[in-house]
Amino acid sequence: MRKRAVLLVALLVAAAVSLGVCGCGSPSIPEGERSELILATTTSVLDSGLLDALIERFEKSHPYRVKAVAVGSGAALLMARQGEADVTITHEPKAEVEFMQAGFGESRREVMHNDFIIVGPSDDPAGIRGMADAAEAFTRISRSGASFLSRGDASGTHAMELSVWERAGILPAGDWYRESGQGMGYTLRLAEEEGAYTLSDRATFVVLDEALDLEVMVEGDPGLLNVYSVIVTNPALFPDANVEGAREFAAFLFEKGTGDLIRDFGVDRYGRHLFYLCE
């Protein structure tokens, strides 16, 4: 009887331990059979939570260990240009096209999109709430002297912001225009503190929305479309690149199951889609 009691407790302990162990990697593919795949991507994919979900799904059925480096789009493409990344997911179409034209990539496909939004303080000093034209909204902000906080860090978000100023025909300068020089989370929190407007990708804003006293002011401008593309590094230039892994990862992004994951990601937790598939 005593032995049976001890056995029962041991079983309970084993069950508790096995439930508490996190599932890192697939138990069906031994670690020794996985090769490293370097994926350079952007912080918005990481911060939304989608990056980890994609990697977890990919590693379950593919013999790779993905090393994800989350930096700005420009930095991710530079890594690939130097042969330091096997595959990239970025959201700076102009730089991506230049990258391909220069021969650094074997293939480029648009995977998913969301959008950029202008967010700002609820009292909306520039009166832009509900506008659908981002350039007009930027014009109103600059004329009103209301504060605008830029990322100012050469990220894809910063590049999008500058393109909107360019459309508006405005070179932003003055006390009202400041740069955070840092990532989206820091920039959003600082914008809240300073009562400033800023441009954000929707996914990152949604993740922080509940904790921030900022509101969506402008959305729906077609020019604010935020498209993410996957590029496989050109093996002709970088023979040491894990091109097989890169091709498999790129193909994986277009599998139906992955598409379902991307499309439905965030709905349970945030009540809205964070990304949409490119058709």
Partner: protein, 178 residues
């Protein structure tokens, strides 16, 4: 409670409590504070780890160098323009030490082909020997008289002759390639 039941119930209760406590730890940043993004959470510990830079070389390992030692080299101000990927230019004056002085001080033989500079977050940039030896290539800790943002680490590379992709920050390793 009978002796047998006590043998089962008490340990099982303890195990369950331990499991519940373990599965709930580590969540949240505390009441009233905005949550950190994943990329921000992963920066925990970065600044301290970037206080020491490893230098590797096929000819033999060199001593790691920490920030205090770096700052003991001749301090210089470099006026440069940070050119960003979108073409925007940001002029400034960066304060630091010449990279070539640090490499020579650490015993790196010249010439070499390039340096593969690794950042804490996995970012890598390669700079050529010629780039590394320029007087306007420095390890900088201040910009326009103020410390560089903490997010960039204790020092960042400033390569006055090149665009911003080479201005790597959060440096943890410099690998000499020959």
């Amino acid at each position: 409670m009978s002796g047998m039941r006590r043998h089962i119930f008490l340990p099982a209760a303890l195990v369950t409590m331990a499991f519940l406590l373990a599965s709930s730890c580590g969540c949240g940043e505390g009441e009233g504070r905005p949550p950190l993004l994943e990329s921000e959470k992963r920066l925990e510990g970065m600044y301290e780890e970037c206080r020491t830079i490893a230098i590797s070389d096929p000819l033999g390992q060199h001593p790691d160098i920490d920030i205090e030692e770096i700052r003991r080299y001749e301090n210089v101000d470099v006026e440069a323009v940070l050119v960003r990927s979108n073409g925007m230019e940001k002029p400034g004056v960066w304060t630091g030490v010449r990279l070539r002085d640090v490499l020579r001080g650490q015993g790196v033989e010249e010439p070499f082909v390039e340096i593969r500079i690794e950042a804490w977050d996995g970012y890598v940039a390669r700079i050529s020997y010629e780039m590394a030896m320029r007087p306007d290539t420095i390890l900088a800790w201040a910009e326009d008289g103020a410390p560089i943002p903490r997010e960039q680490g204790p020092v960042r590379l400033v390569v006055g002759s090149e665009d911003g992709f080479y201005w790597i920050h959060r440096i943890v390793r410099m690998a000499i390639e020959r």
